[in-house]
């Protein structure tokens, strides 16, 4: 469940890079841990974020959790569909459940994120 065409963060976001554009979502592990997601609040398109900055918050039946941006740049697109169908994050965390697209200032920032094998080891230390 950890595709190798994306990179992973310790706070359980994934990032998929095409040129300067980074698509960001939360991992399958994160959605599984959160349980049924019932609401999501995301930053507005046009806002600028630095790496580690707050991207929004996810409200599940268990808890409210914050999502952080792995990269620095400008938010160019937000997944509006999640407003009425937050369950897409549970159903397709790497597909239709994506959260935002950020135009990166410095694409090399992504190099610091984990590969799929590294992430798998990170969440299953034993």
């Amino acid at each position: 469940m950890y595709p190798d065409n994306v990179k992973y963060t310790k706070s359980h976001e994934w990032v998929r890079v095409a040129d300067k554009m980074a698509t960001i979502g939360i991992t399958d592990y994160a959605q599984e841990e959160l349980g049924d997601i019932v609401n999501i609040e995301l930053v507005q398109p046009g806002s600028t974020l630095s790496a580690g900055g707050l991207l929004g918050s996810i409200d599940s039946v268990k808890a409210v959790s914050e999502i952080f941006s792995p990269v620095t740049g400008e938010v160019v697109e937000v997944n509006d569909e999640l407003e009425t169908a937050p369950e897409l994050i549970n159903e397709e965390p790497y597909g239709s459940g994506w959260l935002v697209i950020i135009k990166m200032d410095d694409p090399s920032e992504v190099d610091e994120s984990m590969s799929s094998e590294e992430y798998e080891r990170f969440i299953e230390p034993e």
Binding site: N39, V61, A63, V64
Partner: protein, 484 residues
């Protein structure tokens, strides 16, 4: 077997009335002459039902209510202790129950004396000097305390403090309070023992810190053993210490937040002091503070001038009013009755039995449930269902299955730093037999999770309403119950 209860609107019949009023003995007047047009509705869809319809409907609903009067309720962090009926009796005395909030002070000296004395008791229990009874709940108590901290810094001309420190194990209300008060929240990590990481705190504290909110014992049921050093560290940086008093039941009469170094705190009368959590009335979250914060208390404050009690509104630095009139008065009466009936010795026994009961449960349940922080606990402890999760049974399923055994579920998925958390707080009011029955149920559920996990994952089986679809209820929120 209880059948499904219809909505009261579904038993409504046009024209049916509950009681017939006698004919008017004064001339009728046209409503449009009395009220502006915008306030007048053509249709007011209230249920039209007879008195027996109403009484039976609500009595049946009340019989389904899961409450501390019917069952054991080990809901962690909530202190669901039994509420002694003598409190109700005293709160129901006409002298208290029939008071009007606008009554002249000289006609309600007894009620004011009770408030004054309750303030003194709470001050003594807190180890602080100044008290307000106004806040209506713990979260509003937090807001009151943090507003007082803000007013204090401002009074010293210090507007540079923008941050409130909050441990990662804190109640969610702590960061919410700080944010609502205009502060940024800075999270303080826990160490391997489950308490505040003092070294990390030293890194995070600074001249931008207005204060720190800390619960002691914390939400893992662990006493913050470094509390004195924590308070000193924050004080040295010029910040103040706020104590979330939600877990006072563990230390009642034994240690005092004021002595630990806290500057301001709230109590939850509906937790520690046995007033109802709901149904029987609203909550109350009095705030106690050290003398230097007295000028910032909400108005009115209670004055006692030679046994004459007055409400004083002339407090120039006050943060203002936090509640209409004087707070939830009859809740104060119940807490006062509780304190007076227990006395100082009784309160010592409360905390002793609360801690003993929690440790008894933890010692027995540790054999089958993972307990991540298994040092001696205080009034509650946190178990984890992470081993059960590997069998496909989650904390949520265990919580639901407990209902079949006649027990309320523990708090689950909190605190957030424990995976599949089950937070269990028995309180002091339960007998060993009740605790043993709960332990047996938990062991049985553990056995089921190995041998017949679907018994657990499909539960509850015995309740009138089975597993509810919480996700859909939250996603497609529909609060409207009126049949059009």
């Amino acid at each position: 077997m209880m059948r499904e209860e219809t909505l009261i609107y579904e038993i409504s019949r046009p024209g049916r009335v509950g009681c017939a009023l006698s004919d008017l003995d004064v001339p009728a007047t046209e409503i449009r002459n009395e009220l502006q047009e915008k306030y007048i509705r053509e249709r007011l869809p209230l249920p039209e039902v007879s008195e027996p319809d109403v009484v039976r409907h609500f009595t049946r609903l009340s019989q389904r209510q899961f409450s501390i009067d019917t069952n054991f309720y080990p809901l962690g962090s909530c202190t669901m202790k039994y509420n002694p009926k003598v409190n109700e009796r005293i709160a129901g005395s006409p002298g208290f129950a029939m008071l009007h909030p606008l009554q002249p002070e000289e006609t309600c000296q007894g009620a004011l004396a009770l408030m004054y004395e309750l303030e003194r008791y709470l001050a003594e229990i807190a180890g602080m000097e100044a008290v307000t009874l106004q806040p209506a709940a713990g979260a509003q108590g937090e807001l009151t305390g943090i507003m007082m901290i803000k007013a204090y810094h401002r009074s010293k001309g210090d507007d540079g403090r923008k941050v409130i420190l909050v441990p990662d194990s804190a109640h969610g209300t702590n960061p919410a309070t700080a944010a609502r008060s205009g502060y940024q929240v800075r999270k303080v990590p826990s160490n391997a023992r489950g308490t505040v990481d003092l070294d990390a705190l030293r890194e995070l504290v600074g001249p931008d810190v207005a204060g720190m909110m800390l619960t002691n014992p914390n939400t893992l049921g662990l006493f913050e053993e470094d509390v004195i050093e924590i308070c000193e560290t924050v004080h040295e940086a010029g910040g103040l210490m706020y104590c979330d008093g939600a877990n006072m039941n563990a230390i009642l009469g034994r240690s005092r937040p004021g002595d630990m170094g806290f500057d301001v705190m709230h109590f939850n009368l509906h937790k520690t002091f046995s007033t109802p959590h709901g149904g029987g009335g609203p909550g109350a979250g009095p705030v106690a503070a050290k003398e230097f914060l007295r000028p910032f208390l909400p108005v009115p404050v209670m004055d006692n001038i030679d046994q004459e009690y007055r409400l004083n509104y002339d407090i120039p630095l006050s943060i203002g009013r936090m509640h209409s009139f004087y707070g939830n008065f009859l809740v104060m009466v119940r807490a006062y009755a509780y304190i007076r009936s227990l006395g100082a010795q009784g309160m010592l026994e409360v905390s002793e039995s609360a801690v003993l009961n929690a440790n008894y449960l933890m010692a027995k349940l540790r054999e089958v449930y993972h307990v991540p922080y298994d040092n001696l606990c205080m009034h509650e402890f946190v178990a984890s269902a992470k081993e059960h999760k590997k069998r496909g049974v989650r904390a949520m399923d265990i919580a639901k299955r407990l209902l079949d055994f006649g027990f309320h579920a523990p708090t689950i998925y909190f605190p957030l730093i424990v995976e599949e958390a089950l937070m269990i707080e028995p309180t002091e009011t339960e007998s060993k037999e009740t605790l043993d029955a709960f332990i047996e149920a938990m062991i049985e559920i553990d056995r089921e999770s190995k041998e017949a996990p679907e018994m657990v994952t499909n539960s509850p089986h015995e309740t009138t309403v089975r597993r509810v679809d919480e996700a859909t209820a939250a996603r497609r929120l529909n609060l409207r119950c009126v049949g059009e």
